[in-house]
């Protein structure tokens, strides 16, 4: 019964995660689902940036203090995929009992990820299940030929390989070894108000162990560090000896016996040491990362990124923005110099352009690498500036009319100016927002005559709706054209 409910609920949340990633349910659903994940969602907190969704994230963190890792067992899409893989790869009876990672390793990895987050480095995304899941979903985009295959897809592929293959050796291996969120929740679960515990009248029949999808029960003893509080064992026990009960308090942990004084102190010391080493490593990675980062980016980053380096310090490469981009201009970066980070995103104007009437990516970013701006504001954000090569441009070089760039420019930044018998483009840079429409439309081959150069620190362009180029002149002409009779 519980097993079936769990399967259905986690399948539902798996579909919800897909809907969230592809923004099928609108921006709000995506924002809600993102906020369920402390790892990218707490990143703004380290910068004293407090989005309203942080309240939801805080509530999610309180949940394990009440009833344990319900997120891991009922909500987590990565957990669902592992359970699925475990069912497919090895029926429960013949599964090998490989060991999970040691608690020390897990604590170290959590300290590393949390340290990176606190030190404002996005590198925790290599460990985090949410960002990895986004990259795994981005494989669908690659299959649909919507995004190019790059480091993001490679990372997503390796994550899927871990989720798919590891359960053959140990179910939920990722949750019990690498996942920093899982370790964090396990830590909180140790202090939770309600816990699964075993009563005195247990006769070690092993029914609960056989039902446990996390392989954490051995002869009536529950490993509190691996238990994901899925409650499947409580339905399996023929005597009702195992069940969710109010914890007796600090005096007895789930293993039964309270640790002796010396044992407790030793454990405390070990955790402190692990937290310290983890943070130290995080600091080290952070310093190395800062030195390796290029001073000036040679790629255009999304509007709302505010500046190349600001964006590079925040992007967790989850690929959600890539999936919601309607024109396909957002692509994952490669390893080339000048990109904001491995698998982070950039705008590829040879592939497409940034739509003027769209702010989809601004509304879905879980780490606020792309800040939200209303559409009317986004329309004036300048992310780059176009540059014209008159040696290649058709009206200048071939003396022929073209205006492909002028045609598509949404802000009037490309003005056609009369030169002898034809019209040639001239740039009004104050109006250019760097959307790349002109570069995409430019017909010259193989090198485009008009290209967008990135602007390291984003600014605002003149709003053409308020003071368009040559507005006064235009008003005059229009006034002159106001005739009610047919002009022929």
């Amino acid at each position: 019964m519980i097993a079936r409910i769990r399967l259905q609920l986690s399948a539902f949340f798996f579909l919800l995660s897909l809907a969230s990633f592809f923004a099928w349910g609108g921006d709000r659903l995506t924002a809600f689902f993102n906020a369920l994940h402390p790892f990218p969602s707490l990143a703004p907190l380290a910068r004293f940036d407090l989005p309203p969704t942080l309240l939801l994230t805080a509530a999610v963190l309180l949940l394990p203090l009440l009833v344990g890792r319900l997120y891991c067992s009922y909500v987590c899409p990565a957990g669902f995929l592992q359970d699925l893989a475990a069912r497919l790869t090895g029926p429960w009876k013949i599964r090998p009992r490989a060991a999970a990672g040691s608690w020390s390793l897990r604590l170290f990895l959590l300290a590393l990820a949390a340290g990176l987050l606190a030190l404002r480095s996005p590198a925790f995304h290599y460990l985090d299940h949410f960002c990895n899941l986004g990259r795994a979903y981005s494989l669908l985009l690659v299959l649909l030929d919507y995004a190019p295959f790059g480091p993001a897809a490679l990372l997503g592929l390796s994550f899927m390989a871990v989720l798919g293959a590891a359960p053959a050796f140990r179910p939920r291996w990722f949750c019990g070894t690498l996942c920093p969120t899982g370790t964090l929740y396990a830590l909180l679960q140790k202090r939770s108000l309600w816990k699964v515990s075993v009563r005195e009248d247990c006769d070690s029949c092993g029914a609960c162990a056989a039902a446990c999808p996390a392989l954490c029960i051995d002869r009536g003893r529950i490993d509190p560090e691996l238990c994901i509080q899925c409650l499947e064992c409580t339905g399996a026990c023929p005597r009702g000896a195992i069940g969710l009960r109010r914890s007796p308090g600090r005096r007895a942990d789930a293993a039964g016996a309270p640790p002796a004084g010396g044992e407790g102190r030793k454990r405390l010391l070990r955790s402190a040491l692990l937290w310290f080493t983890g943070s130290l490593w995080a600091g080290m990675f952070r310093t190395i990362g800062a030195q390796a980062a290029p001073p000036v980016l040679s790629t255009v980053v999304p509007p709302g990124g505010r500046s190349g380096s600001r964006f590079a310090e925040r992007c967790v490469a989850c690929q959600t923005c890539v999936s919601v981009c309607p024109t396909g201009v957002l692509v994952p970066c490669g390893l080339q110099r000048g990109s904001p980070g491995v698998a982070a995103v950039r705008l590829d104007f040879m592939k497409s352009y940034c739509s003027y009437e769209c702010n989809a990516c601004l509304a879905v970013c879980p780490s606020r690498a792309i800040s939200y701006y209303p559409l009317e504001v986004k329309k004036t954000i300048k992310i780059g500036s176009s540059a014209l090569d008159t040696k290649l441009c058709i009206p200048y070089a071939d003396k022929k009319d073209c205006a492909a760039c002028h045609e598509v420019c949404p802000t009037g930044a490309v003005e056609m100016v009369k030169r002898e018998r034809i019209f040639a483009p001239e740039l009004r840079k104050d109006y250019c927002i760097g959307c790349g429409s002109c570069q995409k439309a430019c017909p010259t081959q193989p090198v485009k005559a008009i290209v967008v150069l990135p602007q390291e620190i984003h600014s605002f362009a003149f709003n053409p709706k308020q003071h368009g180029p040559g507005a006064a002149r235009r008003r005059l002409r229009i006034a002159a054209a106001k005739k009610t009779e047919f002009p022929f």
Binding site: S355, I394, D401, V408, C409, P443, K465, G468, R477, A481
Partner: protein, 307 residues
Amino acid sequence: MNRRGFFRLLLASGSAALLDGLPGRRSWAKPPPGPAALPDLVAVKDGSPVQMFEAGIEALGGMKRFVKKGTLVLVKPNIGWDKTPIEGADTNPDLVGRVVRAAYDAGAREVAVCDHSVETEKSCYERSGIEKAVRDNQGVMHTASRRSDYRKVPVPGGKVLKEVEVHRLYLDSDVVINVPILKSHGGGRMTASLKNLMGVVWDRSYWHRHGLHQAIAEFPLVRKPDLNVVDAYIVMMENGPRGVSSEDLLLKRMQVLSPDPVLADTACARMLDMKPEDVSYLPLAQALGLGSMDLAKRSIRRISVAG
């Protein structure tokens, strides 16, 4: 050109000449008397796009003149831009819906609508309001963003365009009704009937590269639209074809209907305060025998629907 295409062209031009009272090449100096002395061009003003169309098509002899029973009709509006109707970048959706209904009323088997949008097709179809207007009138919206829908055909007598990849609906429909919106245009000077046909072509970049005006003039050699309904309700006087602000727009409340795209565009050039000769593709198209620029010698019916 294959044999079938040749016959189709022959048939189309022959019937067009018969029905429209359009003379053969280089002989439009003296207009022959039409079957029922129908005008070559109808200009309507002072009404809503729908009112003006209703009055205009009646003066042009009714929709039955162009659409026969059981035919497949392509209505080709301008849906190039991700903009709302009030911004004057795409054809008025009410007008498109009314044209679709008129084609059905005249006995069309199916009325298809498509345009190879400049921006993302889905958002253009949606925001322009045209998708909804067409569906409300039982018309069928088709995609024009898949290359597999395009067919390479030769351009008889083309210099810049020897071959061109054209949307199958433009080639296969029995009737093509061109419903452009009048706008200024940075490259073509103006966009109306002839320029609007770039929306059934796959590789527009080639046109820009090899001579935009010549290509625009040559394309109708593949096939001429049977009827042109130019929406000049909101006219983009400057910064076209995309437009920057509402200051580019002028509420003209006019419409031009004609089977001759060159004639319609000549009248439209005047509306934009241009000399028709300055729109280079118009004289080029006239020289290719695709229509006439001589407004004085053609019969024009001027209607005001203000009441």
